[in-house]
């Protein structure tokens, strides 16, 4: 089967190869080099879908991203919602259907790969048309690092759509030579199928490269389907061309109505005749090329309808070809159903439309002038100015590092675009241009007749503009704009919102300027005063997954692990996310749930010996003669009095007096401390120290260095911990007398330095073992081996939390929330009264801090000895009737930590309770699943309040 509208020769398609595809369930054929749109047109298919709101037939109206009509849903090779048929390259097996309104997402995950690449250049040229190629050649020949990106499948831009000649040869020969020359230069990156979709500060442009879409099912799986190029350019040349603009008239939306330039593209680039019988309606000279080219290709051009009274100097050329030219005439409307059948043509003078007649046609080409594609310029916050002669918005100022060239800057002719591209590129060069920086010779173009700026043809159909479509994708009409203005709206932004013009897939590429023009006309104000709505990235839609890039799945966010991670995995640990760290939460044995595992782990630590991988704790080496001064200023308690060899617990507050972190501090030398932070607080505390030292106290002689990953830390906990540590480190006297609580000792193991510290976060006798992670697995194994006789039990964070909660030790960030002071935690003992100042101290004196109803950390014991209160539960006054009153019910505080205790043989909790310390002994209620659970308020320390166990 041949495609009835395919020309016999010409075009950039591979006629030797046939590609089969499916549209709306119908199997059709095309060629490599086709777009879905050109292949459909070759098969005589103009209508793509019906419109979103009014259900009117709509078809292909342009040849690239500005098309407002041809939205399709891709089904094969993988479902993708809402693409333009004009931008989908044809490949074997493509299946699509027309889209009336909403696209459809796949219901299975997308397995394609996406990535991003950073690239740095001296000059980025956007657009490989005549201006862009000239610019890229000029910059590259001069030795600059150049990137040339272009959204089409091949270079050439507008030259792909026409029959222009350069150097007395087809212009595409020059394009091929230019591309070859660029390919031979080492510092040039030339990317086709790459759309620059956003321009940002400091020469930053994002571009999307469609790398494998055109390959269909043959796309290699290990290559990214699409790539975001993050291009940083010293200079940017925007050579993005111009979009042709339609004229609005009644029933201007039927399939078969197309921009004039698009018809040339379909003819010359794809070898497709978009119709047999054409009418061309124009306000400017450019559409004459379309009329003549189609005529030469065998299309019967019924008439050229030129709105300008004086017509065009090209009239004679048309008449020689036998094409009727109607000057001072307009198309006022159309007839047809799924396809245009007639154009209604009438004389037009001084804004008045005369009596008309119908001309039969299956193709109506329209040209209302050209809108320079100023999107990237505008996104870079360049101001636009309205050019009344062109009826277009042009770049209105010079920007640092971004220049617009060629028809994007309003240059009308080929020779001018080439010169402009070269000129703009030369301005970016640090040195002189290359000696061989030559431009091809373009034939002189005729002096054009000025275009007529005509936004719309007055509606004589009786429909009052309600079928005069401004935004086809939104079904928005001249009548809608008129209604918006009638409602009192004056701002173009309000008109846009009222009518929804410009909010659809094409983001107003054809409708935006029309709306400004028509609004200005209806308000009788200058178009410059109406302005445009803001151009916002992206220039064309970009898939979410392309922007997500490789930050998906395992690479979504880094997993931080300790040196023992593989051991934990092998031991069957269940992990918990703590910030970016993976920490073992518990180590269930076969058949154990978490509760059973934790009760077992807790019992081991309380009665035998347990071991924890505490390596994620933050560690900071603080060195210098003023190290103690710094710590005194940042901790609430006194650190300068700490003796070398000893350890002290400390609390840090923000300037607002709220606790931000806690931990222990080891004094290693007079001028050296090892500061431990919480796992989540490690980076924050180091940054906090650096900020104060650098910005406030540069006179302090102190340096802070992260050593979090320099030391693995293993707390060995429980009454038998002394036996284990003593066995592994026999040269250390681990007796309570020789190695007291809150001191540390250095030793070695097979020559490897090891530090031991008697710190306990459980209340039990405990030793923390610090070692270089190179040897972590070996040392951990030695401890396990030595502990085997005592049933040494690795435990996770859950057991650690239970053990510390039984002792009333808070976890910052769990038992506190940024509104809690050390006093609230019952840690007035850790707040120095001797120091004249420390960070946060002044805030303690504020009125709100004196409130007796501040929340205090207390313990809770459910009276039924059974209920494990859900963490987060709220606490209310005891209700004698056991029922909640209607809301709002005053709350006393909430449960911050709650566990079942092996030691206490009952559940318990920690909570922040208003005036909690004054309520110890009282019973309050906690609503749990609709019932009120009575709980007794206690002090926070429930196990070994005398601290008798810490020495074993």
């Amino acid at each position: 089967m041949t495609s009835p509208f395919r020309t016999s020769t010409g075009g950039r398609i591979d006629r030797a190869t046939t590609v089969e595809f499916t549209f709306d369930g119908q199997t059709l054929r095309g060629h490599p080099g086709d777009t879905l749109a050109s292949a459909l047109l070759a098969n005589g298919r103009h209508q793509i879908a019906t419109s979103i709101k009014l259900g009117r037939p709509r078809g292909i109206a342009a040849a690239w991203a500005e098309d407002p009509g041809g939205l399709v849903q891709i089904e094969e090779p993988f479902p993708e919602p809402m693409l333009l048929a004009t931008t989908v390259e044809l490949h074997e097996g493509l299946a699509a259907h027309g889209l009336p309104g909403q696209g459809r997402l796949a219901d299975v995950p997308d397995s394609a790969r996406y990535d991003a690449v950073h690239h740095h250049v001296d000059v980025l040229v956007v657009g490989a048309g005549p201006a862009g190629l000239a610019a890229a050649l000029t910059a590259a020949r001069a030795g600059a690092r150049v990137a040339l990106v272009d959204e089409q499948s091949e270079a050439g831009g507008s030259l792909l759509s026409g029959t222009e000649r350069l150097d007395d040869a087809p212009a595409l020969q020059w394009v091929a030579a230019a591309v070859a020359e660029l390919a031979g230069l080492p510092e040039v990156l030339h990317l086709q199928r790459t759309t620059a979709f956003g321009s940002y500060d400091d020469g930053f442009v994002l571009a999307l490269e469609r790398r494998t879409d055109h390959l269909g099912a043959a796309a290699p799986k290990h290559v990214s389907r699409q790539r975001v190029w993050r291009i940083r350019a010293r200079s940017i040349v925007v050579a993005t061309g111009a979009h042709e603009r339609p004229v609005v008239f009644a029933d201007n939306d039927r399939p078969g109505i197309m921009l004039a330039g698009a018809a040339r593209t379909f003819l010359h680039r794809y070898g497709v005749l978009p119709g047999r019988e054409a009418v061309v309606f124009t306000t400017n000279d450019s559409a004459y090329d379309a009329a003549l080219d189609l005529h030469r290709a065998g299309v019967h051009v019924q008439a050229v309808v030129d709105a300008r009274p004086e017509g065009s100097p090209r009239r004679a050329e048309c008449e020689r070809a036998g094409i009727r030219v109607l000057s001072g005439a307009v198309v006022t409307g159309t007839r047809g159903a799924e396809r245009i059948t007639h154009a209604l043509v009438a004389p037009f003078a001084d804004g008045e439309v005369g009596a008309g007649s119908a001309i039969t046609c299956d193709l109506l080409l329209v040209s209302g002038g050209w809108n320079p594609a100023v999107h990237l310029f505008s996104q870079a916050r360049g101001r636009l100015r309205y050019d009344a002669a062109l009826g277009a918005f042009l770049p209105g100022e010079e920007l640092d590092g971004l220049a617009v060239a060629g028809s994007a800057a309003g240059v009308p002719d080929l020779a001018g675009c080439l010169t402009d591209g070269q000129r703009v590129a030369r301005a970016t060069l640090a040195g002189p241009p290359a000696a061989d920086d030559r431009l091809p010779t373009a034939p002189e173009s005729a002096v054009p007749t000025p275009p007529l700026v005509l936004w719309r043809v007055p509606d004589t159909s009786g429909a009052d503009g309600s079928t005069s479509f401004v935004d086809l994708q939104r079904d928005a009409t001249v009548a809608d704009i008129a209604r918006a203005i009638g409602a009192g709206l004056r701002s173009i932004e309000h008109v846009k919102r009222y009518t929804t013009i410009g909010t659809a897939h094409d983001q107003g590429k054809t409708s935006g300027v029309l709306t400004s023009g028509i609004t200005a006309e209806l308000l009788a104000i200058p178009v410059q005063d109406t302005g445009t709505t803001t151009f916002r990235p992206p220039y064309t839609p970009v898939a979410f997954a392309a922007l997500a890039g490789r930050d998906r799945g395992r690479l979504f966010d880094p997993e931080r692990v300790t040196a023992l991670h593989e051991w934990h995995v092998a031991a069957g640990a269940v992990f918990e996310d703590v910030g970016q760290w993976k920490r073992p939460r518990h180590y269930p044995r076969p058949g154990e749930d978490m509760e059973a595992a934790v009760l077992r782990e807790c019992a081991a630590a309380r009665t035998g010996v347990g071991i924890l991988d505490g390596s994620t704790l933050g560690k900071i080496d603080v060195q210098g003669p003023d190290a103690a001064v710094l710590l005194d200023r940042l901790y609430t308690n006194l650190m300068s009095s700490l003796k070398v060899g000893s350890v002290r617990y400390g609390v840090m507050c923000g300037v607002d007096g709220m606790v931000i972190d806690d931990g222990t501090v080891l004094r290693l030398a007079e001028d050296r401390f090892l500061v431990l932070t919480t796992t989540g607080g490690a980076a924050k505390v180091l940054d906090w120290m650096e900020e104060w030292v650098q910005t406030e106290w540069p006179d302090l002689r102190v340096h802070c260095t992260s050593v979090t990953e320099q030391w693995c830390t293993f707390p060995v906990v429980g009454p038998r911990s002394r036996d284990v540590v003593g066995a592994v480190f026999p040269q250390v006297d681990v007796s309570a007398e020789a190695f007291p609580f809150m001191t540390w000792r250095d030793t070695t193991l097979d020559g490897v330095p090891v530090r031991l510290a008697r710190i306990s976060f459980s209340g039990e006798l405990a030793f923390e073992v610090y070692v270089n992670p190179w040897y972590a697995v070996a040392v951990w194994q030695r401890l396990l081996d030595a502990g085997r006789p005592y049933g040494i039990t690795p435990y996770g964070t859950e057991t650690m939390h239970v053990l510390r909660a039984e002792k009333g030790y808070p976890i910052i960030g769990q038992d506190t929330d940024g509104t809690v002071t050390p006093h609230d935690l019952g840690m007035a003992w850790a707040v120095s009264k001797k120091k004249p100042d420390f960070v946060g101290k002044r805030s303690f004196a504020r009125p709100a801090n004196q409130d007796p109803l501040r929340k205090h950390l207390v313990g809770l014991l459910p009276v039924d000895r059974q209920t494990v209160l859900p963490e987060g539960s709220q606490i209310v006054e005891f209700r004698t009737d056991g029922r909640l009153p209607p809301p709002p019910v005053p709350m006393l505080g909430h449960v911050t930590s709650s566990y079942r205790s092996a030691e206490l043989a009952r559940p318990f909790a920690l909570a922040l309770v208003k005036g909690g310390r004054e309520r110890i002994g009282e019973t309050v209620h906690v609503p749990v699943d609709g019932t009120l659970v009575p709980v007794e308020v206690t002090g926070p320390v429930l196990v070994d309040p005398e601290g008798a166990r810490r020495d074993g």
Partner: protein, 196 residues
């Protein structure tokens, strides 16, 4: 010296790294002693005490004895040695800089080094590094503290062609970065060898 077995956070990646093509070779650098040096003013006294001229130009590194001296900040360097133990290096450097008001901290295990060689190294790094690694800009002797993917790294250019780069990464991020690099290098392999 030590009988204790050393392990590396990237032991589990050995096979996957070995399967990479010649255009992107990734080798885990052997453990070396590293010390973070802080020193306010650098001059003859410091050079004499340390036996190396610490580089003062931002973004540079120099060979230092058997190791390297890497600029980390206006008063901060990373000094490495392949012949001393971590404790020896820290002790020597600390003794040298203390009288000058400086400090030194053993950070040997804080970071792990990956050496990337091959024609595609720049392409792999460009997938997650925003600084310009063109040899004109990032030639031999250049260093940079920056972000690669989502990991903080120190990059060292070993040769002018930008095809030989050491990436120092925090040890806890090493697995993430290895995964990231393998994934980034995937398109340069003829037979995908992604899964470790």
């Amino acid at each position: 010296m030590a009988e204790l077995l050393r392990t590396s956070p990237l032991d589990a990646w050995t096979d996957a790294l070995e399967r990479l093509p010649d255009t992107v070779r990734i080798a885990v650098e052997p453990y070396v002693a590293m010390v973070d040096v802080r020193l306010g003013t650098v001059g003859a006294a410091a050079s004499a005490a340390l036996g190396v001229d610490l580089p003062t130009a931002p973004g540079t590194w120099v060979p230092a004895g058997t190791g390297r001296a890497v600029w980390l900040g206006p008063d901060e360097w990373l000094l490495s040695s392949t012949t001393e133990t971590p404790e020896e290096l820290e002790a020597r450097v600390r003794a040298a800089v203390l009288p000058l008001g400086g400090s030194a901290t053993d950070v040997s295990a804080q970071r792990i080094g990956l050496r990337l060689t091959g024609a595609r190294v720049r392409d792999v790094l460009a997938k997650g590094c925003s600084i310009d690694l063109h040899p004109r800009v990032f030639g031999r002797g250049s260093s940079a503290q920056t972000t690669l993917g989502q990991a903080g790294v120190v990059l060292l250019a070993l040769f002018d062609a930008a095809d030989d780069v050491v990436v120092l990464v925090r040890s806890s991020f090493a697995g993430y970065l290895a995964d990231w690099l393998l994934d980034a290098a995937l398109e340069f392999t003829t037979t995908p060898t992604h899964d470790r």
